[in-house]
């Protein structure tokens, strides 16, 4: 079954959607959109470092994304004016990554594969990494669901219930770094944040509980992945951007339908 590249690509997209659905919901609820962007952009620096030091790309991405996420989350707790700081970090990380990659000796690196993903080239090994990473993220979020949700609703209420909001924020930070590392091959650094935000935002309109929104976001993410792949196969458009375009179309439709 996994012999067909298109089947593998489909499984990769759906696997990613399982992680981005619930995590993306938290990104929307907590207004962490730019935070997701900064972490994702740092991934390209991770790619460069991984190539330079000859370690697996996923590992390098995970480490650098985690470092970036921790820095940003640390700044957020100290109450810095986040907008400009995040902009500086996000774009500097991207630029620094692109510069660093030009120093990688030997092989010419296919930059666009890292920027926009290369879902049609996903192999069995990649599929294992994607589903493994998604499983870890889902398990992490299910395990911490109630305290995470309470802390998102109100930090005051969370503390009074004996929940440490900083610890819960760390869980999200870790989950975000894992998703970035896993999504690199599927969707690329530039569009990871889109896969987090768009399906969740599309699910908001018709969801009455947080659980319904997270599950719907998974469905919308998976549908976008399959629709984008289909379009890419039929009309020969780039796969990653097609997936995000499909998600945007679904968002536009749900926004129009649920608008009062």
């Amino acid at each position: 079954m996994f012999d067909d590249f298109l089947v593998r690509a489909g499984f990769a997209g759906v696997g990613l959607a399982f992680a981005t659905g619930p995590l993306g919901s938290f990104v929307v609820w907590r207004r962490m959109a730019y935070f997701g962007d900064a972490t994702a952009h740092a991934a390209i620096l991770g790619v460069a470092l991984a190539l330079i030091f000859s370690v697996p790309v996923t590992l390098g991405t995970l480490a650098v994304a985690l470092a970036m996420a921790l820095v940003v989350s640390g700044l957020a707790t100290r109450g810095h004016a986040m907008d400009a700081t995040l902009g500086v970090l996000s774009h500097s990380a991207l630029a620094l990554g692109l510069v660093a990659i030009s120093f990688v000796p030997g092989v010419r690196v296919d930059l666009s594969a890292f920027l926009f993903g290369d879902i049609l080239a996903v192999g069995r090994q990649d599929l294992l990494v994607i589903w493994g990473g998604a499983a870890v993220v889902v398990a992490l979020l299910v395990w911490r669901w109630a305290p995470l949700l309470t802390a998102t609703m109100s930090e005051d209420l969370a503390v009074a219930s004996g929940i440490d909001p900083r610890r819960e924020r760390l869980v999200l930070t870790l989950a975000l770094a894992i998703v970035v590392a896993v999504a690199l091959k599927v969707i690329g650094t530039l569009l990871i944040a889109a896969m987090l935000i768009i399906p969740a935002a599309a699910a908001r309109g018709f969801s009455r509980t947080p659980e319904a929104m997270a599950v719907s976001a998974v469905g919308i993410g998976a549908a976008s992945a399959l629709a984008g792949l289909g379009a890419s196969y039929l009309v020969d458009t780039p796969a990653g951007p097609s997936i995000v375009t499909a998600a945007a179309v679904i968002f536009a439709i749900t926004a129009a339908v649920t608008r009062r």
Partner: protein
């Protein structure tokens, strides 16, 4: 043993002192009203007691395993987070449906289960928060300015409800109020805070006096009382005090 006891609390925001050597203890079953002018540190004191803020100095000791119900001043709700009343009451722990029915009846939020919390009025949100706090079977209920935005009959009705809850559950109540002079008549103690504790006493119940009738009108059911501030100490501090007391 006190439910919660704080000794020598000091807290400042930058150079601005908020709490100075505050001692407070809440005993089981008592109703304590904390009053003070705006910016006197009432909310900060509550946040130190609930653990949201760490004091610069001093210690907070809770009875081990204390069940604390906390009703914040208001919820800053994020519209992107869908949340029904029923789901909110089960956060962070699933509660017994029978207990939810009882708490909903007690607080008068029956029929709101399927509404979005963000769509409720301020008063309704307050009652949902109270219902959620009751679900912990609290030994101590802490309410931060629960009557803000209510008119006087509404305030009186809320106080009667609270007194009834205390009698039914046997929990202690610590309530913050910004009204310096008109307090809940069932308060066992009134503590006046202005960075430090200025005075402490019992409310003066004058519900039968004609002047009281003239002042509060009818229909408040004796839930309100006057509090006479008696500051028997002099302030030796350098900073300015603005007490504005009768």
């Amino acid at each position: 043993m006190s439910l919660i006891e704080a000794k020598g609390l000091s807290l400042s925001y930058g150079a601005q002192p908020v709490l100075e050597n505050v001692n407070i203890a809440i005993e089981p079953g008592e109703i304590v009203t904390l009053v003070g002018p705006n910016g006197s540190g009432k909310s900060s004191l509550v946040k130190v007691l609930t653990g949201q803020l760490k004091p610069d100095a001093g210690k907070v000791r809770r009875k081990p395993g204390l069940r604390l119900g906390y009703v914040p001043q208001k919820l800053a709700l994020e519209r992107s987070l869908p949340m029904t009343v029923a789901r909110f009451l089960n956060l962070p722990e699933r509660r017994d449906p029978e207990a939810i029915r009882r708490a909903s009846k007690e607080t008068g939020i029956e029929g709101l289960e399927h509404r979005q919390v963000a769509d409720l009025s301020g008063g309704q949100q307050q009652r949902v928060l109270l219902a959620r706090a009751l679900l912990t079977s609290p030994e101590l209920l802490i309410l931060d300015e629960p009557t803000q935005g209510l008119d006087q009959p509404g305030e009186a009705a809320f106080y009667l409800k609270l007194e009834h809850l205390r009698d039914a559950l046997g929990c202690a109540v610590l309530m913050v109020s910004h009204d310096l002079h008109v307090v809940m008549s069932a308060s066992d103690r009134v503590i006046c805070l202005n960075h430090h504790i200025c005075c402490e006493g019992t409310p003066h119940v004058v519900r039968d006096a004609p002047e009281y009738r003239a002042l509060f009108g009818y229909g408040t059911g004796g839930a309100l009382a006057l509090y006479q501030h008696e500051h028997d100490h002099h302030h030796h501090h350098q900073h300015d005090h603005d007490h504005d007391h009768v």
